[in-house]
């Protein structure tokens, strides 16, 4: 009863909200389109920070932005050689 009333009054998702949600997603993708230079700087900064705690294998490490339909993630695979002693 309530549901049919809701339908009658147009409680379905309005196109303005659909536009907003699509826009938010597309902008995440637009912004994630970062330059190789920025990725290299990011990688070097990450190496520097992590290296104060552990020895990592810089050759085999891998950092990338992975995008799918509704999310963007920064994915890092960093092999650890040795964890440094706590001071």
């Amino acid at each position: 009863m309530i549901e049919s009333l809701m339908k009658l009054f147009g409680k379905k998702e309005r196109s303005g909200k659909i536009a907003r949600d699509r826009l938010k997603m597309v902008l995440i993708h637009d912004h994630a389109n970062i330059s190789p230079e920025l990725m290299i700087n990011l990688k070097n900064d990450i190496i520097r920070v992590i290296s104060t705690y552990m020895d990592i294998d810089q050759e085999d490490m891998d950092i990338a932005l992975e995008q799918d339909a509704d999310s963007v993630a920064l994915v890092a695979n960093i092999p650890v050689n040795r964890v440094k002693h706590h001071k």
Partner: protein, 263 residues
Amino acid sequence: MSEVIVITSGKGGVGKTTTTANLGVGLAMQGKNVVLVDTDTGLRNLDLLLGLENRIMYDLIDVTEGRVPYKKALVRHKKFETLYLLPTSQVKDKSAVNPEQLVKLCDDLRKEFDFILIDCPAGIEQGFKTAVAAADEAIVVTMPEISAVRDADKIIGELGRADKDNIKLIVNRIRPQMVESGDMLDMDDINDILSIDCIGQIPDDTMVVTSTNKGEPCITMEKSSAGQAYRNIVRRILGEDVPFMEFQTEGFFEKLRRRVFGK
């Protein structure tokens, strides 16, 4: 202190030229010395919106290429005597002016004018880069429409890369009825997404078209709702704190639905 403001958008046809003409007239009505520089070379339009198309002798390219001093190319408005237009060429293309030339020209114009408004071509190519190079501030014009907002976001990014940090937003062609029914991006959505300072919300208004037909910007028309919005923007540019006008009209059924079912 003069201000050089570029009116830009990314997407074409959202109202840059209309905005440039209206703000120019509005600032002149407030007694400011204003010059409007058309940089949409090859697609000259600003002259038509101001009703000055029959008075053009020289253009921007004649000035930047050193054939005439800028004073010779300026066209004075018939009615608002502190308003001038520097028209662009209808035959050359956007590569005819480079950023250094426009920067130099604007530095000369600063000596005489309070406001220098630059009407920018659509897109993010050379014409955009040239127009932006000379500006202290940017006004980004967009519409409550998904592709126009995306392009505005892109332009805001480009302005940031060009170290232009003083950026204001104008949202043009708002249709209150559609916002009301939830079928148009509303101001909260757009502010949330673009997160830059908004200085204008302009309704879609048929008087924009009729005033363009006559070559008299709608800001001079008492009854025009877009004209009222432009008058408010002028006051905000001059530092006044003006509340945004309400044009949401809530229908009876809308109200009823809200009463019964909550928001």
